[in-house]
């Protein structure tokens, strides 16, 4: 642990994080090898910072997101939230501090539940200090407030996800994440499944929320344009390791690692028309 004064505004710190998946063969399921999905990564996220993890498929960024959320347990290494080791925290405690927005607005909402339940159940079941259950009316009010905050009409509590468009569903997912009043939000490809015009709306929303609620984000993405637009700092992942870290300005204008350079070069530029 570092000296307290300096690292005051570090909200999340990962230390040598590893996640290996065993490969089993044979009838007796002998472990013959490991898939090193995350192979010893370390990084820090500060308050109000938007930190991005970029890389192509299989680099380990999604696994990292799951480790932070403790949807998976790390094979090795530690994650500290405000100085506390998250493996020592209770599931509920963690849920109050870190929340997640998913990529697929169609799969991330339970098709059988109403919007009111999807967004509000977290509110209702949030462990209050007094252990008192939140009353139904309060829950409705809180839910409406959340929907308002994400730019949705408030009279949709009794509707179902399939009645909404991708962009609207993504907003619902964001409202759900905000219900727990977290400090850090893990945004796993939050706009990749959305149309360009909707993408812009959601990106703006994420920035607005950061400013108004003082949130930090860890953005998992493969679209480097989105990353450049949204993030303050970026870490490039390749085969489970972080190959380069730095502020967005630095990494994009002056990449050091060869993989980073390849990634940046591969982005199609939507700037001038190149006609033959």
């Amino acid at each position: 642990m570092e000296g307290k004064g300096q690292a005051n505004d570090v909200i999340l710190r990962a230390e040598n994080l590893k996640k290996y998946f065993p490969v089993e063969r044979g009838v007796f399921r002998r472990v013959v090898d490991y898939i090193r999905a995350v192979d010893g990564i370390s990084f820090e996220i500060r308050k109000r910072e938007i930190f991005a993890l970029v890389g192509e498929s299989g680099c380990g960024k999604t696994t990292t997101a799951k480790l932070i959320m403790r949807l998976l347990e790390a094979t090795d290494g530690k994650i500290f939230l405000n100085g506390k080791d998250i493996s020592l925290l209770e599931r509920r405690e963690l849920a109050r501090r870190i929340q997640i927005i998913f990529q697929d607005p169609f799969a991330s909402l339970n098709p059988r539940l109403t919007i009111g339940t999807i967004v509000g159940e977290a509110v209702r079941h949030k462990p209050e200090a007094t252990g008192k259950r939140v009353r139904s009316k309060e829950m409705k009010e809180k839910t409406k407030e959340l929907l308002n905050r994400v730019g949705l009409p408030v009279n949709i509590l009794n509707e179902y996800p399939h009645q909404f468009s991708g962009g609207q569903r993504q907003r619902i997912g964001i409202a759900r994440a905000l219900a727990m009043e977290p400090e850090l939000i893990v945004a796993d490809e939050p706009v990749s499944s959305l149309d360009i015009s909707v993408q812009a709306q959601i990106l703006n929303l994420l920035l607005d929320l950061r400013d108004s609620l003082g949130l930090s984000y860890i953005l998992i993405a493969h679209d480097l344009n989105v990353v450049r637009f949204l993030s303050d700092k970026v870490a490039v992942m390749y085969q489970g390791k972080i190959v380069e870290t730095g502020s967005v300005k630095m990494v994009y204008h002056n990449p050091h690692h060869s993989y980073t350079k390849r990634l940046l070069e591969a982005i199609p530029k939507a700037e001038i028309g190149i006609s033959e």
């Binding site: 799951k66 959320m69 949807l71 599931r91 509920r92 405690e93 963690l94 849920a95 109050r96 929340q99 997640i100 998913f102 990529q103 697929d104 799969a107 991330s108 909402l109 339970n110 098709p111 059988r112 539940l113 159940e121 977290a122 079941h125 949030k126 179902y160 399939h162 997912g173 759900r176 219900a179 727990m180």
Partner: protein
């Protein structure tokens, strides 16, 4: 949500047909005392083994009892057995299936081995053995059929649970810090319902057949309480002289089981995966 289901359901002729028949049967069973022309147990030895006539629409049996009335009352037995037996199987099967699929690991292995063992026994003979051991009556029959039905359902539910478990909204629910119980029953279960409903509907048909067979063998519902199966028992001895005693209860079983099968098949078409797409 249900509107879509309903609209699709309406369009599927077979399912509709099956549902209609079942509905009619349920009504018949419910108001049996009202519509049965005679008391099913009222004997009239003078008029035994009479063919269908204006007075006894389906004829009489060997003790002079009106066949139509007995068949109407028999509906009650069949439907009751169907629902209760399958109900038991569903409850046990669903709970075990969810637990198995959700938690995995040791619990899963344990439950699955249990399922495998149970499935090794030839069901019908198991039932015969148990009934022979206990007293043959309708309650025992229902419980026993239910207890032999759950393993198949467990496997089914477990499979569905495994695939639903990985879907993002379940991950989201866990991320919200919701309790395992809530995630299993409020989030996963409704999404697993579809195949359960189909299996249950088809299972009711099977349960009715089993009960009929048991009653036929004398190990199910005991006379004088009418069950389609035990009417057939009486019928078999007089088959050459009183064909109606075998035909009509047989038809009743046929129609009922067919109706459930049609409904089940129809439900399968109507429910997933297209439900998700819409």
């Amino acid at each position: 949500m249900w509107k879509i289901f309903w609209r699709r359901f309406r369009r599927n002729k077979l399912a509709l047909f099956g549902a209609l028949i079942i509905l009619s049967l349920t009504v018949v069973a419910a108001i049996a005392p009202v519509i049965a022309p005679f008391n099913p147990n009222e004997q009239d030895i003078l008029h035994r083994l009479e063919p269908p006539s204006g007075k006894h629409l389906l004829g009489t049996d060997d003790l002079g009892r009106d066949l139509l009335s007995r068949i109407i009352y028999g509906t009650r037995v069949s439907l009751l057995v169907g629902f209760v037996a399958v109900g038991i199987a569903i409850i046990i099967g669903t709970v075990l299936g969810l637990l198995s699929g959700y938690f995995g690991g040791g619990l899963d292995s344990l439950i699955m081995r249990f399922v495998d063992i149970t499935l090794c026994f030839p069901t019908f003979f198991l039932i015969l053995m148990v009934i022979a051991f206990l007293e043959p009556n309708i309650w025992n029959v229902m419980v026993v059929i239910g207890l032999t039905g759950w393993p198949g359902l467990t496997r089914l539910v477990r499979g569905e649970c495994l695939s639903v478990r990985e879907r993002e909204f379940v991950q989201a629910a866990k991320a919200l810090g919701l309790s395992n119980r809530r995630v299993m029953f409020i989030h996963i279960l409704p999404n697993v319902m579809a195949p359960i409903l189909v299996a249950a509907t088809l299972g009711i048909g099977g349960a009715i057949l089993t009960e009929s067979a048991l009653s036929f063998l004398g190990l199910g519902v005991q006379p004088p309480t009418p069950s389609w199966g035990n009417i057939l028992t009486a019928g078999k001895d007089y088959i050459t002289v009183a064909w109606w005693l075998s035909l009509y209860p047989g038809l009743a079983i046929l129609v009922t089981v067919l109706a459930y099968n049609l409904l089940g098949e129809g439900l399968r078409d109507v429910l997933d995966p297209r439900m998700m797409a819409e």
